[in-house]
Symmetry: C2
Subunit: 329 residues, 2 copies
Amino acid sequence: MRLKDTGEFGLIQLFRKKFPSQNKKVVLGLGDDCAVIKASPQKLLLLTTDSLMEKVHFDTSYLTWEQIGKKSMAANISDMAAMGGEPISGLLSLGLPKRMETDYVLKLYSGINRMAKSFGFSISGGDIFLSDKVVITVSLLGEVKPSFLKKRSGAKEGDILCVTGELGESFAGLELLKKYRKLSRFPSDKKILDKHLNPLPRLKESRVLVKNLKVTSMIDISDGLLGDLYHILEESKVGAVLFEEKIPISKKISKISQHLKYSSLHYALNSGEEYELLFTIKKGNIESLKRLKIRISVIGEITNRVKRIEMIDKNGKVKALKKRGYEHF
Amino acid sequence: MRLKDTGEFGLIQLFRKKFPSQNKKVVLGLGDDCAVIKASPQKLLLLTTDSLMEKVHFDTSYLTWEQIGKKSMAANISDMAAMGGEPISGLLSLGLPKRMETDYVLKLYSGINRMAKSFGFSISGGDIFLSDKVVITVSLLGEVKPSFLKKRSGAKEGDILCVTGELGESFAGLELLKKYRKLSRFPSDKKILDKHLNPLPRLKESRVLVKNLKVTSMIDISDGLLGDLYHILEESKVGAVLFEEKIPISKKISKISQHLKYSSLHYALNSGEEYELLFTIKKGNIESLKRLKIRISVIGEITNRVKRIEMIDKNGKVKALKKRGYEHF
């Protein structure tokens, strides 16, 4: 069997099954946004890693090296946010071609460092090696108070499903970038590209959420709303129903829909790299939710129909939805 | 300027200068074997990462996937040993080609896991992505008691320079593998290949050393004795004199010198990926050293001639040596 048949998530399942965790200090291993390690009774450590590879994850024809650096750090910070934690220190492993301009590498590092700095930490170690294409692997150490730790596995039937911000722009932006290539040829307001080019992880929002609400499960949207919701459903052994009218579709993508291939709803449901937070709370928390000064939409409810995602459309009709999480292979 | 001009270590120096560490919890950033983070007054955390790339770091014509997995973990564990620490948990980022056999990936993971298991921990998270060539990045979290922490920077004039084990086999083994390619064509005892094919990090030896001696600086030999000694001299702002007759040249490579290009001494001085520990101790510790049940050689002394490596040969003649640390670019 080859990887294109096994698939990315199939491979992770094989790893989990065949090689269970060894160290008693590891509270949570493969299968969430971060690994969780018990440092002391008062503190848990979080570990996460994320790689970007030239041509696979980014294209230098429309991203600057500084933006690529920021993106590689954003993905990791977002994983910390998804678990309610805060980053302390980062490691960087860089695969670089011999002929690459040193100045570009410094811009890349500057982007990584600037994103880290804005969240109060920096890169403290790493590795550099020769590679045909640029490979950037950031690993992050973070910490979290045990009561703030949020996993994918805590959602219960009857919980309310919420999401921060607006959805769809990252996918739509990527599609426009691929279509028009050069920014100068771009047909409309370039602000729609911001979420794809300069993503901002929701670390501060995560803090507000875990401090003020009974969050029962949480994940960041890196695989798309449906893909990441499916991860929650899988790990929590529940189902979900979405209210179509409540999905926070970005107004910007609705405006330029004539340039796009799919419906706005399709982008909102399937846009990866959004780095918004998708989470569930206890039903009784709806009033507290309204008092928070963050844009949050209540988009659905948790059901007992394990791994099933349903949607109630404008006319009250229920339909089953397929998950479409991004797979590398 | 391009990377081939800046060089690997030049680039790291640029990173250190331009982007200093931000977080107060980071006690030691870029430039040692691990980053050091203060978790509590009683405990320091260690972070390290190391990547292996197909064709650059390993060749599947003479290494099995299981051996490649073990090697990728060994390098990281060795970095922990070099600082006196112990690993707790690992992260794995894997770049894999679509057409790769899933079975090979499982063998690779099994090697990684087996090496980790033999030191009491395992992989607890990671990332998988599409790549033309296999890229393996292991990141490791470890811990160390503050009094056991050993840096590259603590060597003082008059300290004694020591090394564990025997030197030269990893480089000589690699050369033989490249020359004869297939193991079946191999002209002599294959045991000489063991250090290159199945390296064993000196984690247990590190423990014995930091518990029983006043170790003033320590590093693992991944760049060769001269290259890594130079790292100690740079960070400690001292020099060193080596006694040629005391260098523990592997007897195996002396035996097959007719198949090799260089002198046995050359291999012993420049063999990377040895994963032996190179360290300095206070002069008064020589008696305690002899009582330890580890093979250790006293090979030299620390001088005040900053960054100069000298060697006293069999006839008592002093000559200056050039460092030759491996650079990727």
